[in-house]
């Protein structure tokens, strides 16, 4: 399959609208939100009213059902302004996607319209003290109790856990991994804020502790065991795709900041932009950011075609985009010198956020080993299987 580069007129217009929203409502405040460790209450209404939380919700339920490329552009532009806000798109989108794809009719009708407007916020609760993105390692348990279930266990590093109204939460039922929709108000669920995180500080991380937490029978999402793998994989795939695009935005923000600083700053009577070693950093930043964007676009087109190679392409995109974002952010701080270490410029935030991107939704090392294994099994994987030409 040929690599497609050109965006359609509609995609270009959507990107401009997302950029304008992000530059008006997010970028000017991102530094403050990072320091405060939270997004303000009003912002949830702002982003909800703009329709930006509806991207992974089907139109039948009030969503905008954004095609993959358009959803990617939204993540890029919001991620360029603030990685914490982009994280909201990610986890909320993962919950919307899981309910839309595998939820019952009742779950779709109950949750999707509210999730589409932002009246309800969704978060993804998989990680545990002893298990990361490994469904098989779950220690949280669920047991049947009358018409419902009782859940016991602990979840850690739950993005937007402080704010979420509903969690897509994973537990073992009869020793089979199972997904539940657990409301934040469920009796027996305690939500504790996590402070002092390295990056994406406004993503309102929480710990969840469940003790005899009762949920109704209709909380069960998808089928236990084998089916759970599909529910988790559907959500994690969207998350990885969202983060990949967000990292393109983050890398672009590093480039923008560096270009601007190197233009105005003089050292030894010469503008920074005219120092060759600075030029090399700018050149690499520009090139890698473009390459990351192309990988994301390729993943998006494949997903748009329903091509299963889109999943592998998403791994490549997330790996390259997140490592590019981190390297770009490190160089951006370097170019800014002492200013880069302080709070007057956003690049120190970019660096902290970019490191987080290399850890979440599949660490760099997990991506590397998976991509390497795939390369052995299918030398041409990722180039796209011929579906229609």
């Amino acid at each position: 399959m040929a690599t497609r580069v050109q965006l359609t007129a509609a995609q270009t217009a959507a990107r401009a609208a997302y950029e304008s929203f992000a530059q008006e409502h997010i970028a000017p405040h991102a530094g403050d939100w990072d320091r405060e460790g939270a997004l303000p209450k009003e912002f949830y209404a702002t982003i909800g009213d703009a329709g930006h939380l509806a991207g992974a919700v089907p139109a039948d339920y009030g969503g905008t059902a954004l095609a993959p490329i358009t959803f990617g552009l939204l993540n890029e532009e919001l991620g360029r302004a603030c990685s914490s806000v982009r994280s909201l798109l990610t986890v909320h989108g993962m919950v919307c996607q899981a309910i839309a794809r595998w939820g019952s009719a009742g779950q779709r009708e109950s949750w999707l319209p509210r999730l589409a407007t932002g009246a309800a916020i969704g978060a993804f609760a998989l990680t545990e003290p002893g298990a990361g993105s490994d469904v098989q390692g779950l220690a949280t348990t669920a047991r049947r109790d009358g018409d419902g279930f009782v859940i016991d266990g602990a979840k850690r590093w739950i993005t937007f856990g402080q704010r979420a109204d509903v969690f897509l939460l994973f537990a073992r039922l009869d020793d089979r991994p199972t997904a539940f929709l657990v409301e934040a108000t469920a009796p027996g669920l305690a939500v504790t804020p996590v402070r002092g995180i390295l990056g994406t500080r406004a993503s309102m991380l929480a710990e969840l502790d469940l003790r005899d937490c009762r949920v109704p029978g209709e909380a069960l999402l998808g089928r236990p065991g084998f089916g759970l793998n599909a529910v988790a994989a559907t959500a994690l795939e969207l998350g990885r795709y969202s983060v990949a695009w967000g990292c393109v935005g983050l890398a672009q923000a590093c480039l923008d900041a560096s270009l601007s600083y190197a233009e105005q700053r003089q050292q030894f009577g010469v503008r920074l932009r005219d120092h060759q070693l600075v030029q090399r950093m700018l050149a690499d930043m520009a090139t890698h950011t473009s390459a990351a964007r192309l990988l994301c676009q390729q993943a998006g087109w494949l997903r748009q075609d329903g091509d299963q190679q889109g999943l592998h392409a998403t791994w490549l995109a997330k790996y390259f985009s997140s490592t590019t974002a981190f390297r770009s952010a490190a160089d951006a701080v370097q170019i800014h010198g002492a200013h880069g270490c302080g709070e007057d410029y956003p690049v120190q935030r970019y660096l902290r956020d970019a490191k987080v991107m290399e850890i979440i939704e599949g660490s760099t090392e997990l991506q590397q080993t998976t991509i390497a294994e795939s390369a052995y099994l299918a030398p041409r994987a990722g180039t796209g299987r011929k579906v229609t030409e």
């Binding site: 084998f226 089916g227 793998n229 329903g306 091509d307 299963q308 889109g310 099994l377 994987a381």
Partner: protein, 89 residues
């Protein structure tokens, strides 16, 4: 198993898909794909997308049972059953 719907017609495409993951270690029709250690967490989604795209059907939540996907023969039978349902609608 509703073997009366099973047809060998789907198997070449299924084997072609699996070849991407198994290379020269192609499982026999009744071998458990998930017991081989060749597939990772991505595989199940790729398999679902492949089955949906290749055979023009929708995998529903209730279809997500290991017994529908764990062997070439099982996938074949599942596809035959789903297509018979679609055709009968």
């Amino acid at each position: 198993m509703t073997t009366q719907h099973t047809t060998d017609g789907h198997r070449p495409a299924i084997r072609g898909f699996l070849a991407q993951f198994f290379g020269d270690h192609q499982p026999a029709d009744e071998d458990d794909i998930f017991a081989t250690g060749f597939v990772n967490s991505l595989f199940i989604m790729q398999l679902v997308l492949f089955v949906e795209g290749e055979f023009e059907l929708t995998v529903e939540d209730e279809d997500l049972e290991m017994a529908n996907f764990n062997t070439v023969a099982a996938i074949d039978a599942f596809v035959a059953r789903k297509r018979a349902t679609v055709a009968g609608d």
